[in-house]
């Protein structure tokens, strides 16, 4: 007799732990007439808890040195590389062909590596020392924005999520991401990858569920600083933009076009989720030539 396979329970990822949704609800995404599993139908309370976790992780993640963040992100890629086959299987299970699935996994790993490399470089590209007319040293440098809501693309289970999360992380932010509703499996498996790497708990939180339920709360929560919306549903975009006004969340809209293309890779995606801070300090004027004081 064949061995009986152990089936995987997909849970959500909050604060470095894998709880079930507090609501106890589930939904069953399907591909064709195949059921993908019992997936957590996260509630607004799950989202709220995730924001609390993300906020408290802000210091832990942004407080790491940029070089260290870079290594942690590299570590995510390393672990993803080691679990390639699991992701390929899941992608196939969700309807992809083997070669397309492999392509997507490879691109996801490479994207992580790409943004891992930016962690300790982007601020050099976007900073400036400003030659002010007065006797002051003046510089402008990016700082993390804080907690970002991410609505991952619907049509790409893994790469879409990685493409959204990586630049946000590279910028030193923490996030709460809502996985693709129809293809949520890789998102939760990716959470396991994050959990196995050295990402502090709460830095990335991943929920599964329905945009129709959660989008509103993700956009309106007063303790969220930015919103990355991936998709092109005009009504949803409108909703996000209007609700974001309440605390002036920075909203960025990203389509899921050309996800595989290297055109998607650029530090301007990081710049969307940083704040530029300008600092002034006086420069004492006593010169070696004895011009006096």
């Amino acid at each position: 007799m064949d061995r009986v396979e152990i089936l995987k329970t997909y849970k959500i990822y909050i604060g470095g732990a894998f709880p079930r949704t507090e609501s106890g609800r589930y939904y069953v995404p399907v591909h064709g007439n195949k059921q993908l599993g019992n997936i957590c139908l996260s509630s607004r309370k799950d989202f709220r808890n995730a924001v609390v976790a993300a906020r408290s992780a802000c210091g832990k993640w942004s407080g790491k040195s940029a070089a260290n963040r870079s290594q942690v992100m590299y570590r995510i890629a390393e672990i993803l590389e080691g679990r390639k086959s699991q992701f390929v299987q899941e992608l196939q299970f969700q309807g992809s062909t083997k070669s397309k699935a492999e392509q997507e996994v490879h691109a996801s790993i490479d994207r992580l590596i790409y943004y891992a490399g930016w962690c300790d470089k982007f601020s050099q590209v976007f900073s400036s020392v400003n030659p002010v007319a007065s006797a002051h040293f003046n510089f402008t440098a990016p700082e993390p924005m804080g907690v970002i809501s991410i609505c991952a693309p619907e049509d790409s289970g893994l790469l879409g999520l990685v493409d959204a999360v990586a630049p946000v992380l590279a910028g030193g932010n923490t996030c709460v991401a809502l996985a693709s509703e129809g293809m949520p499996l890789c998102a939760i498996t990716f959470a396991e990858v994050l959990n196995a790497s050295d990402v502090p708990g709460g830095t990335v939180n991943i929920l599964t569920g329905k945009r129709t339920e959660l989008l509103e709360h993700m956009a309106s929560h007063m303790d969220v600083n930015g919103f990355l919306y991936c998709g092109s549903d005009e009504e949803e975009i409108r909703k996000v933009q209007s609700l974001a006004v309440e605390n002036l969340k920075r909203v960025s809209i990203s389509t899921s076009e050309k996800l595989l293309s290297s055109e998607r890779q650029n530090p301007y995606c990081i710049e969307d989720f940083v704040e530029m801070k300008t600092t002034w300090h006086p420069i004492e004027i006593i010169s070696g030539s004895g011009s006096g004081y």
Binding site: N247, T279, H281
Partner: protein, 487 residues
Amino acid sequence: MAKSPKLEFDVGWDLSPAPESTDHINLKGQYDLFINGKWTKPSSGKYFKTVNPANEKVLAEIAEANEKDIDKAVQAARKAYVEVWSKMPAAERGKYIYRIARLIQERAREFAVIESMDGGKAIRESRDVDVPLAAGHFFYYAGWADKLEYAFPNRRVHSLGVAGQIIPWNFPLLMAAWKIAPALATGNTVVIKSAETTPLTLYKLAEVIEASGIPPGVVNIVSGAGETGAAIVNHPDVDKIAFTGSTGVGKIIQRAVVGTNKKTTLELGGKAANIIFEDAPLDQAVEGVINGIYFNQGHVCCAGSRLFIQESVSDLVLRKLKDRMESLIVGDPLDKNTDIGAINSKEQLGTINHFIKTGKDEGAEMYQNSCSLPDKGYWCRPTLFTNVSQSSKIVQEEIFGPVLAVQTFRTIDEVISKANNTPYGLSAGVWTDKGSKIFNLTSQMKAGIVWANTYNKFDPTSPFGGYKESGFGREGGLHGLKPYLKI
């Protein structure tokens, strides 16, 4: 020899009046809209009056633009964009902006005097800060026009099109410069609206723009109240909205552009913390507090309106602060010795007085300097409140007047959490002689501008803008280009 240890500032050697002359000022009785390079009557035929807040006299009548006029202005801007401005070689575009900078410098004194007459700000500030900085902004951005490819690595940038710009009443000419200069340098055309109470220098700028020979329609200048602003924001052919003003109005604008492709820059309110540690250069810190809250009558979005003093030096700092306040002169904005001019409008004075009353009702202790105030006009003495807490209204809300709320603190982590405990995030000040503490504090402050051992410094090369509900986008410096470009 021991006397009661109180310094006396109120009797003795007093300064004689030193009013800046208004002889050389060229003001017309009436200003029309400046659309498509022509002075244009408003389609409604309506004009509103602008008043000198120092004597309540009417200075001029200004055309009020309605939806029709805005449409005309946007059409002119679009036409100028498509036919001329977007096709012009960038270096040539830059030369026009340089011309504007030079023309402002040539007429600096006139600009300064009119700014003080229309807005009530002390001539010392309009002469030494507003006007030179405005010219400086045009000069700075003029040079960027043909160098944009160096600002955005690996990107070819494109202008947006027509920029709709709405400026506040606290720094009329300077805010116009902050808006117009980068917009033009990046190849956009402009429709800009002045605030209702301070339109005059924008129309003097229109004269300069006319004299610069810049093609008609590249800059269009209008005036009016909220409805006029709404007409700009809602116009379907505007690609970009840049707004400086209150957080309340900023949110209305942001809601209005939902679902459009309009890019926005919002520079909104603030309630900045100014933090003095016991190891600070205290006398300079006191001077920084004075500049921080009483500059421009406190009508400054980045005003250091919340002062935090480390408890071990709070008595000493307060004493120094009060003595320094005593030497401040409140009065005629045109007098060269005036430190604090007139409150911009009757309405704003009402708002400030309401906050002062609230402060007293909440049990805070008030101190004001003892100078005399003119009979006519809108005035407010420099004011500070002690015995307040984070929950006091005057600590939480932006007053936009010369009113300082003072709290004490004990430890670094306490003051960091209190300083950041606000929905705003425009600016902050930190005073300590210890370098490592400065860098800790400046990075912990959730604010777009942090002044360490200085306050309220501005420069064309220095980006300005907020975190959180103080808005987004930066104005000034290299970072001020991006909001006007597709990259």
